[in-house]
Symmetry: C2
Subunit: 216 residues, 2 copies
Amino acid sequence: MEQKESSRAGKAAGRGTYAVGDERRLRILDAAVEHFAQWGFHASSLARIAKDVGITQGGLLHHFRSKEDLLVQVLERTEQHDKEKFFDEDFSTAAECYANLVRLTEYNAARLGRTRMFNVLAAEAGDPGHPAHPYFVRRYAELVAVMSASLQRAVDSGELKEGTDVIEVAEETAAVMDGLQLQWVLDPRRFDMVSRFRAYADRLLRSITAEATGLP
Amino acid sequence: MEQKESSRAGKAAGRGTYAVGDERRLRILDAAVEHFAQWGFHASSLARIAKDVGITQGGLLHHFRSKEDLLVQVLERTEQHDKEKFFDEDFSTAAECYANLVRLTEYNAARLGRTRMFNVLAAEAGDPGHPAHPYFVRRYAELVAVMSASLQRAVDSGELKEGTDVIEVAEETAAVMDGLQLQWVLDPRRFDMVSRFRAYADRLLRSITAEATGLP
DNA sequence: GTCTATAACCGGATAGAC
DNA sequence: GTCTATCCGGTTATAGAC
């Protein structure tokens, strides 16, 4: 799965280090994000995406075998980007882990189209026949694995209460993030997603942090 | 908008008390739920829905002016049903309110297609031009209003901590329910949505309940 | 009420010219 | 690499027969 990309991905791991011929490809991917965001997968059209890039539908299909192929590569691209930005380091405390998730929420709150795309695709992918179904199943599994591992270290270190169900907490946290995004996209100006997530994280951590002081 | 329906709605408010000619209408609505669930709005087709009912696309459009009309009436129907079932009474304690939401989660967990439909439509409706956009904006507002009113009564009665931000808690709870539904639909057999929501409700209530005992 | 027929379009994918 | 042309099928909505 990864070898396919290794030949064209940036060699020096620097930003923007791509083969020259891939510039058009990247512009297509960016345009596709916007369209999948607004229309979902089924209702997006290659012709309209191509038009945004300034080429025709036929031209677009020179870079991507099919519409499905385009979707999968869009997801792979954004995922790779997110992982580098937010899941590179292993957090040693739960507080750090949630501070990082607040950062992720801020990042999403600055990208309406991208966030709406994930909302729509995650929901559409509930259909087992949807091309993004395997992606989202794997995505949640990985997210929960990374988060629960962080939380488990926090339990072991004594930061969190003994007996905390770290899987449960990780899945709940993922749910809160997704649910807040749903409400935020419906009314981005009114709904303060970042504050809401921060409030959730604070209350959650307070309720699962091992109490060290205060009691006799 | 409501007069249109008043002539054909059940007169005695009893279950199933509909005009005879509306049987076909109801079967169309039920079939539409399944299709909107699997395909969302844009990618669903009137012809396929009609086929499931056993009529043609032309025949279907005798009962519903347009595809948009069908969607709106599907949403109105399910909403009316839900309100009667889960939001009829005003709850005097927060514990009762959340017990009722657990019941709602159980109800949803027994209806995969319907729940998937709401996931997809709620996400699609993030686009302001989507026919269901106004519906979902109003839906969240009403849900938060009802829940936060319940919670406020619980604060006033001393069940919950003084100074609890009831709007914040209500919006967070809605987010958890939606987020859990998203994960559940992706893998209904593995993911236990009801347990997860119960765990969330328990932890939330513990952290916002006014402590009455235990401290000197 | 339901059908068939049709209008007027849009969808993805392929083939081949340049 | 991008275009045009084309295939073949799907879409909603309307019109009119029965």
